[in-house]
């Protein structure tokens, strides 16, 4: 049996699922909710969707993060020196610049010039958390690591978020993810402690996991260090929860409530892409479900699942499996979430054989991440794997996306 919990700032919504079918659901205080849902049954996992709590907390952590960019040149003006996202701007209380950085292929664009600045960076404008974003770090993170080592030598207690740990290509997307991550560390610490304690109160050995924005499940420790991964998880869990209740693993999912939200579930997982606009208009390098909020007609041979929410009755011309959920969709989706990994890599391959080898290496890395996220041994598999040539760069440059999932 698996329990999924969607946590909001006010309440927890839970669902007990067995063999892909909903057994029970209820809402309440988290610890009591788990006990009542389990009701003496043996529970294998509890998976938490904490995105609503993380999202709500962003308004209370403004100005807490220091950010430094490592680039070969200094930006002129506010627009290029700052960040286009109002949320990111509000979270950053101090900014710095260091000369350095690499290109996408790992060649150094400028030597790291840190000698006169290490102490100033370590001071971080009096803040406790410093985000370091170096151009090219997605391919070669030497300068981010060097900045980290040097500032820690000055100030051992400083908390650091390095952008290469958070996301893929796109300096501003990666910086946004790292800034949000840094801003959420304290909140995540507290959340993980609370969720782990509530899970541990259930009898037996129960796995505790958290849903990410791409719909996969990660360990408590991974969420503690990378809380940004959980943002947008509610979109993912609602889609997969509706598909589960509609008995589909591949479907166009239409959520009809106060607004209409359309997404896709493929192989039981929400269809996701990186660099999409998410909560607060922030684009993150981390992937999130591809959603449409404009009414669309079903296309082709889609299996359509229509979930009626918030008392909605009118489904217009939509034909498909109708779901009137007795449970919170997000909780159902969380209960069914499996260990997941998403890798986004830019790399070069000059021949078809090299490209095959490169793709295989990235697939293996993704499977390793799944295995270390608590997947059952041997259950990890790659569910999506694309290699697309990067336009207007020299021949042989590809952007690889690999998505893997497991059983957990």
């Amino acid at each position: 049996m698996r329990i999924g919990v969607r946590l909001t700032p006010d309440l927890a919504h839970g669902a007990l699922v067995a063999g892909g079918a909903l057994v029970a659901s209820r809402s309440g205080e988290p610890r009591e909710l788990l006990t009542r849902l389990a009701s003496g049954s043996r529970v294998d996992t509890v998976t938490w969707d904490v995105s609503a709590v993380l999202d709500a907390s962003l308004g209370s952590v403004t100005g807490r993060v220091a950010a430094v960019r490592v680039l070969p040149g200094v930006a002129r003006g506010t627009a290029l020196g700052g960040h286009p996202s109002p949320l990111v701007r509000s979270l950053v209380g101090w900014r710095g610049h260091v000369t350095g950085g690499h290109d996408l292929f790992g060649a150094e664009l400028a030597p790291l010039a840190l000698d006169d600045q290490a102490a100033e960076l370590a001071a971080a404008g009096g803040l406790d958390t410093l985000v370091v974003t170096a151009t090219g770090a997605v391919g070669r993170a030497d300068h981010e690591r060097e900045v980290a080592a040097r500032v820690l030598a000055h100030r051992p207690g400083l908390r650091l978020c390095l952008s290469y740990e958070v996301g893929g290509p796109g300096l501003l997307e990666r910086e946004a993810a790292a800034v949000l991550n840094a801003a959420l560390l304290d909140v995540a610490d507290d959340l993980v402690d609370r969720c782990a304690a509530a899970t541990a109160a259930l009898p037996g050995e129960v796995g505790c996991g958290f849903v990410t924005g791409e719909g996969g499940r990660v360990s408590a420790e991974r969420l503690r260090s990378l809380p940004v991964l959980a943002l947008g998880a509610d979109d993912a869990t609602r889609l997969s929860g509706a598909a589960v209740l509609g008995g589909a693993t591949d479907a166009l999912v239409v959520l009809v409530g106060r607004e209409v939200v359309v997404g896709h579930v493929r192989d039981g997982l929400p269809h996701v892409e990186p660099d999409l606009v998410g909560p607060h208009g922030v684009r993150l390098a981390a992937p999130r479900p591809v959603l449409s909020r404009t009414p669309v007609e079903p296309a082709g041979h889609d299996h359509v699942v229509v979930a009626l929410l918030d008392g909605a009755e009118d489904v217009g011309d939509l034909a498909g499996t109708l779901v009137r959920p007795d449970a919170d969709l997000g909780a159902v989706g969380a209960a069914c979430a499996r260990a997941g990994a998403w890798l986004d890599v830019v790399a070069t391959a000059d021949t078809a054989d090299e490209l095959d080898q490169l793709r295989e290496r990235v697939r293996q890395r993704a499977l390793t991440v799944v295995a270390t996220s608590g997947s059952e041994p041997g259950a990890a598999r790659v569910v999506a794997d694309t290699a697309r040539p990067v336009a207007y760069l020299r021949s042989g440059v590809y952007r690889l996306h690999v998505r893997a999932t497991g059983a957990s």
Binding site: P72, G73, D275
Partner: protein, 360 residues
């Protein structure tokens, strides 16, 4: 005379996104940056080429390279002025106007930035009317305007001036672009307004703003397609689902960056025709059940049926639901010379353009 103010930029971007699907924070940042420049320096005069004295020196402004690289290495903001000044220094005289090479997403913005910081007017024209992969594939080159000398500036502060034959300039510049981090901002095609009159696609910038305003107000998907047909003469080749992506499916075209891709779309309706798109940087050729239906230099464009966004060869994935649109190129591209420079054979396809033999 029209002016471009910060208020015009969102519509310009919407219109230009039909030509290129680039999105992301880098496009937002560049938009904010150019708005900041226009606010600081004042609206940019948008002039017809005939409004300039014939002897006025002018040059095209374009980013050469990859938007993915630009997103990883954002501009410092100095590049437009440095590129203009470097070209002026090489030419030995100041420019009196700048124009776009291919006004699409960031390449619609950089010429405005160059005009704003240099205090120059922007000529309301374009050299491609779409995006083509090589810098010599322009109506400027078609009319015999020189491509070089050109000045290129990178975000690491590199300044390169290229003096070379047109066919050598692109490979030389690409080498510099690779070393500079994957993109450089260039001032190129130095000419005069008099020569530009018969070499440019007129009214291209204002058309993007006007198209963008229409697109931003389209009520739904059907209205959007109707608007594109009415305003741009777009033709719907078919609608369906992407069922296959494959790479390196054919020998690469001569000197083109990136690798070729094939995209197969199966139509929803009727017999489920197979639309196959051949791409390399851009969509170049469309066949329907094996017969050539559309080809470069006409613009082949995939429009996501759910997201109301353009899908490019870099972002398309299996399962996408798309409309395949063909937007006719400027008439000059349908001449024998235009098709020789930018028709399907110029990209290595052993087929003619559907309009070949038809008078433009």
């Amino acid at each position: 005379m029209r002016e471009i103010s910060a208020a015009d930029l969102p519509a310009l971007m919407t219109g230009s996104r039909l030509l290129s699907a680039s999105t992301g924070f880098i496009v937002d940042a560049c938009l904010d940056w150019v708005a900041e420049l226009v606010d600081r320096h004042g609206p940019v005069p948008l002039v017809g080429v005939a409004d300039l004295p014939p002897e006025s020196p002018c040059a095209a402004i374009a980013m050469v390279g990859s938007v993915t690289a630009l997103a990883e290495l954002p501009p410092t903001g100095e590049e437009p002025e440095l590129a203009v000044r470097a070209l002026e220094a090489r030419l030995g005289h100041p420019l009196r106007a700048v124009m776009p090479l291919a006004a699409a997403t960031v390449n619609a913005l950089f010429p405005i930035a160059a005009a704003a910081v240099s205090g120059l007017p922007l000529v309301d024209c374009d050299g491609m009317g779409r995006v083509l992969p090589l810098i010599q594939q322009s109506t400027y080159a078609l009319a015999g305007l020189p491509l070089t000398p050109l000045a290129a500036v990178g975000a690491a502060g590199d300044v390169v001036v290229v003096d070379a034959a047109a066919t050598r300039a692109d490979p030389l510049l690409r080498a510099a672009v690779t070393t500079a981090g994957g993109w450089m901002l260039c001032a190129m095609n130095p000419t005069t307004a008099g020569h530009l009159r018969n070499a440019a696609i007129p009214g291209a910038v204002s058309r993007l703003i006007d198209v963008g305003r229409v697109l931003r107000t389209a009520a739904d998907h059907t209205a959007l397609l109707d608007d594109l047909t009415r305003v741009l003469g777009a033709k719907l080749l078919g609608s369906g689902r992407v069922v296959e992506l494959s790479h390196d499916t054919r020998p690469t075209g001569p000197g083109l960056p990136a690798n070729p891709t094939s995209v197969a779309v199966v139509e929803y309706t009727g017999a489920g025709r197979l639309i196959r798109l051949e791409a390399q940087n851009e969509f170049l050729l469309a066949t329907v059940d094996g017969a050539v239906a559309a080809a470069v230099p006409d613009l082949l464009c995939l429009l996501d049926r759910r997201e109301r966004r353009v899908v490019d060869p870099e972002s398309v994935v299996v399962g996408d639901h798309v409309d395949v649109l063909v937007i006719p190129a400027a008439p000059v591209w349908h001449t024998p010379e235009g098709l020789r420079l930018a028709g399907p054979r110029a990209f290595g396809f052993p087929v003619g353009h559907p309009r070949e033999g038809i008078s433009p």
